[in-house]
């Protein structure tokens, strides 16, 4: 039993990743938009779990706050505003969807064919796992948030400020686009 729990703990990333894939597949396959949003929420929560298992604790929590707390609620509101259409949805999928799926699968197969040897073969350069002495950089005194903020405010201050301007522009743009036309 203990061995089983330890195995689960070691493979936490794979479990969350596969669950995220399932949520994403449910999202694009379901007919109703509300079900799509729920699949999206599930996928985002599982990706947050992936972040946590990759020692990005701050980002995992930020993912839950931003996506599950903000974006999914926004999507649900818009679905409620928009989906009460008189016309029923004629078709869920595009006419060209067969070609699209075939093209993407072909691209995936090509990618795997080219990179299979590099990523998984015997010729892969080294065992691609984290060396423990490098992990120190991600933790300043055991605090991931401190390390992230040091990166954000010391090394990448200019992109951060540009992002804040982008957010302001997006806010104003969203208000202008969504307001009712009153002359």
């Amino acid at each position: 039993m203990e061995h089983f729990i330890q195995t689960i703990g070691r493979n936490m990333f794979a479990i969350f990743g596969v669950m995220a894939l399932g949520g994403a597949a449910f999202m694009i396959a379901s007919r109703s938009a509300v079900h799509s949003v729920l699949g999206f929420l599930f996928a985002m929560l599982c990706i947050a779990g992936c972040f946590l298992s990759l020692e990005a604790e701050f980002l995992g929590m930020a993912q839950i706050l931003v996506y599950a707390g903000g974006i999914v609620v926004l999507f649900l509101f818009v679905v409620m505003l928009v989906e009460m259409s008189k016309k029923k949805e004629k078709e869920v999928f595009q006419l060209q969807s067969r070609y699209a799926v075939v093209a993407v699968l072909l691209g995936a197969a090509l990618f795997l064919g080219v990179f299979r040897k590099v990523l998984f073969g015997a010729a892969s350069p080294e065992a691609l796992v984290l060396r423990p002495e490098l992990a120190q950089g991600l933790n300043v005194a055991g605090q991931n948030a401190q390390a992230v903020s040091r990166g954000l405010f010391a090394d990448y201050l200019l992109p951060f400020e540009i992002l804040s301007v982008i957010l302001l522009v997006a806010l104003v743009g969203a208000v202008v686009l969504a307001k009712t036309e009153r002359v």
Partner: protein
Amino acid sequence: MVSLNAVLLISFLLFSIGIIGVLIRRNALVILMCVELMLNAANLNFIAFARHSGSVSGQAFALLVMGFAAAEVAVGLALVVALYRKRDTVQVDDINLLKG
């Protein structure tokens, strides 16, 4: 220990699902969600390489991408609402004014 290959594979599959969703769905809301999914797959790569190289830059950039995704969703949903007011639909196939 999480190997980098597993992270890259999961992120690649997530990105592929996002591309398939953008290409085959008609509902503009679902297309927006698929774009978000692709941004998240990129974020996963950023974090995996940050962990692999021991530098914090990847995590900082993932945070920036997250903020950018929030801005994009705000504008995109405003566009969808404006479109619904004007054309009474959110199906991208019905938006064919530019079709010759």
